[in-house]
Amino acid sequence: MYFGKVAALAGASLQVRKGEIHSVIGPNGAGKTVMMNCISGLYRPQKGEIRFKGERINEVKPYERAARGMSRTFQKVEVFGGMTVLDNIRLGRHIHMKSGILSGSIYAGKTAREEIENRQFIEEEIIDLLEIEHIRHKPVGMLPYGLQKRVELGRALALKPDLLILDEPLAGLNLEETEDMARFVLDVNEDPRWNITCLLVEHDMGVVMDLSHRIVVLNFGNMIMDGTPQEVQNNPVVIKAYLGEEDLYATRR
């Protein structure tokens, strides 16, 4: 991926295995978010190939990628501030709604059933999981940042994705919110009802090391290594490029 003559991401090869939490780490400007944008379809890489579920998706539009089971959250929250929490989450569910305007206005039979099923999914699986019952009807813009992040995750989950891309889900959260968020990520990854594969970009090393099955390290658009947390911690190049900047376990604690 090039911006002018800057190679923001080059020679990176990443393979995320089903059911794993795969983290991407690297110093600022390493190309982590560029990578996420390429995968979700926001950017079109000039070279290389992106494959999802065995198919090449380079030319597939973002919304089509969502329909194939991919959803994401953003580094800076991108929620609809004027809409309520429930509406934001429902929006993520749209892709699974089959009824059109006409049947929706009559609202009977299959359409009503579909609506009820979707409501049940949102309430029982998402709102209950994320513990946001008390803000259901509040406009998202009025909520504190930590809750907005949670709502964004809720919207991404409403798609019931197979691959969830989380771009710095913990940035700007306090300790308690971080713990909650880490728990949610673990829950959706491990719970048999979800079993979501996660691609995680994060700076909080403690959380990354604890959660991830595998970690990719990027630096200046190049990939340094791909391995288990153990291997990453022991790799001298990685330590020099990134971890060495701070303590090995630089976390907010």
């Binding site: 049940q120 309430e123 029982e124 709102i127 209950d128 999981l129 513990e131 019952e133 008390h134 259901r136 300790l175 728990r183 829950d187 491990e190 719970d191 604690r253």
Partner: protein, 650 residues
């Protein structure tokens, strides 16, 4: 079953005597058989919808949990501890513990580890019923210190998929065990229930204790039931009533409404979706009866006051006028002289335009009786609710009388008293001014603490440790805890609580701590309300980053001073606050500064903030604070700040 018929009759008419034989399980059995599938015993909001639980469901679940507990080895008199938010499962577990002839012990949901350890160990609890991961974690970490604890029962499996300990079992599995046992011995449950006697111990309740370690009060079935019966004689409830259960079950007041009264009348208990949504859920239900400690009402008043500050000019004028009329009207009613017609018309007008709506927003539009107790409530708050037309009554009681012993009667309310004793209760003041109570609800003694028992129970009289007197109309006036009463400079006794509750009527003040026992003048340490004051500061474009910084701003000091001057008004000179300071943090139950029911632990804070107290009684104008604060997760923060001492002159 002639025995059964007799007690059903007792439950049907409130006047009839509750027999000594009757136990909570027996009553539960009768009510469940009587109401069956047709009536809703409980309602819980779950996944955004109110879901009903009929008496039949309630009965079945309790039966299988009870049998399951037996199968797990519960013996007669074993303690079953419970911890968790208010949910039907919590109440079912308690009922099951009683039905299986165990004894129930409730813990506060926000208990710290040490408190949990102490209570579990002291009560000899064999089972602990928790809600989910949080409670299970707490229980597992104290397991090794409490060898008597055998099983931890949880209800919500969320987050527990990697927990493999043998001592863990889900409520569902317990019910399954119960079903198996029923197959073997189909009549066991009925036999268990018939075995009970009203004088047996039902609940072991730990008092929050402002001074020492919690003490376990033993309450019998008869204590609980007679308590509920006597309250219902004064203010009858109907079985069609709704009640919202959102205060901790570990508080005796909640037990009184949910078990003592709820079971006798058979009204519907409603459980909010989550603790954060309770205010909203109360509004949806519109309960007919309410019982909450003063802080809940204080919170409601604050919500209204804050909304008022943010409202438009026209709305503020309307509200001002309506409260003025409301106060006037309430005062005329208090004085029992009758209300002139033009005031009635005026009141009708403001009721229709403002107060009715306000009441609806507070979820009080259907409230017939609202009670407050557990701590002193300021007269300002009290008048506020009466000005809205809410029939708010003070009660007086303690865990040791299974709830309450004294209450206001409708139409005979004075806001500085707690009213008359309920039927069956005698109240007497001894020479030292201590309040003594005698009634069928007086408890059986403290668990494993004969020393405290003999001190509190003498010849059937309960020595409350509260100072008070009876006024000319026979109303009981509760002064304060005996040890908290101040002696002012002129030798007069003075209750600091009175001044503190007055201060707390200001929306900007969250907590106040008045000092001045045997000193030259009174002083106060104030805690601002962070959300309200930060809102106020935002409007004035003041910059701050934390509670600590905000509390120490000169503008905030000015604001607080104004509130104190307001409270100082029409007090005798010796009872006025002369100096104050803003504390750099909020008072917190987690730091042992307050009890779980948010009562100030005076002796403790006086020791902890000795340098502040000293500074208030010296000539300095500031006090330097250099302290370490430990957060829940073990982190420490170093706090360095200078608290200003502000003198208040006329």
């Amino acid at each position: 079953m002639p025995q059964g018929d007799k007690t059903i009759a007792a439950a049907e008419s409130h006047k009839a005597e509750i027999s000594r034989e009757l136990t909570i399980p027996k009553l539960f059995y009768q009510q469940a058989k009587r109401y069956g599938k047709d009536r809703v015993a409980m309602r819980e909001k779950e996944f955004g919808i109110w879901r009903p639980i009929t008496w039949q469901d309630y009965f079945e679940t309790v039966k299988y949990i009870a049998l399951g507990l037996i199968k797990l080895g519960l013996q007669e008199g074993d303690k079953v501890a419970m911890i968790g938010d208010n949910r039907p499962e919590g109440l079912m577990a308690e009922m099951a513990a009683l039905c299986s002839r165990g004894v129930g012990v409730w813990l506060f949901q926000d208990c710290l580890m040490d408190e949990v350890r102490y209570i579990i160990d002291h009560s000899d609890a064999k089972f602990l019923v928790g809600e989910g991961q949080e409670e299970v974690d707490k229980a597992l970490s104290i397991m090794k210190d409490c060898p008597k604890l055998k099983k931890i029962i949880y209800d919500d499996p969320k987050g527990l998929r990697h927990y493999k300990q043998d001592c863990l079992i889900s409520l569902r599995e317990v019910q399954q065990l119960g079903r198996e046992l029923e197959q073997e011995k189909p009549s066991l449950f009925d036999e268990l229930i018939q075995k009970g006697h009203g004088e047996e111990i039902a609940l072991l309740f730990y008092t929050s204790g402002t001074t020492a370690l919690p003490k376990g009060a033993l309450l019998s079935h008869h204590n609980m039931l007679s308590m509920g019966q006597h309250l219902m004689e004064i203010d009858p409830c109907q079985k069609t009533d709704d009640y919202v259960s959102y205060l901790p079950f570990a508080w005796i007041g909640e037990q009184m409404m949910s078990i003592s009264c709820g079971l006798q009348i058979g009204y519907t208990l409603n459980f909010p979706e989550a603790p954060e949504t309770s205010q909203e859920n109360i509004r949806e239900i519109g309960p007919h009866v309410m019982f909450a400690p003063p802080r809940m009402y204080e919170q409601m008043t604050r919500t209204v006051q804050v909304k008022y500050l943010d409202a438009s000019w026209l709305k503020r004028m309307f509200f001002k006028f309506a409260t003025w009329v409301g106060y006037h009207y309430a005062d005329m009613k208090f004085s029992k002289k009758g209300v002139p017609l033009h005031w009635q018309v005026l009141h009708g007008f403001v009721y229709a335009t403002v107060q009715k709506k306000l009441k609806d927003h507070l979820g009080m539009s259907r409230v017939r009786n609202a009670y407050t107790g557990g701590a002193a409530m300021g007269p300002d708050h009290f008048r506020f609710f009466h000005s809205l037309g809410v029939n708010l009554k003070q009660i007086y009681g303690q865990t040791e009388v299974a709830g309450i012993s004294v209450v206001h009667r409708s139409g005979d309310i004075k806001f500085d008293t707690v009213g008359h004793p309920i039927p069956g209760t005698e109240v007497r003041i001894n020479e030292e001014g201590e309040i003594l109570t005698r009634s069928p609800s007086v408890f059986k003694g403290y668990y494993k603490n004969p020393e405290a028992t003999t001190k509190t129970l003498k010849d059937g009289w309960l020595y409350s440790g509260d100072k008070g007197f009876l006024d000319d109309d026979g109303h009981l006036v509760v002064f304060d805890r005996t040890k908290d009463v101040f002696t002012l400079k002129d030798g007069r006794p003075f209750a600091p609580q009175y001044l503190e509750t007055r201060l707390k009527f200001s929306p900007y003040i969250k907590d106040a701590w008045v000092i001045g026992d045997r000193r030259d003048y009174l002083s106060a340490v104030m805690c601002i309300d962070y959300s309200v004051v930060s809102n106020w500061a935002d409007q004035r474009k003041l910059n701050y980053t934390s509670y600590q910084e905000l509390s120490q701003m000169p503008e905030v000091y000015e604001l607080v001073e104004k509130q104190i001057r307001q409270a100082n008004k029409d007090l005798p000179d010796v009872a006025k606050i002369r100096k104050f300071t803003n504390l750099y943090k909020e008072l917190d139950a987690d730091d042992d500064e307050l009890t779980r029911t948010r009562k100030l632990r005076r002796a403790f804070v006086e020791k902890r903030y000795k340098e502040i107290v000293d500074a208030l009684y010296s000539k300095t104008d500031s006090v330097h604070i250099d302290t370490l604060i430990k957060y829940e997760d073990g982190r420490q923060a170093h706090i360095v700040t200078d608290m200003r001492i502000i003198p208040i002159t006329e």
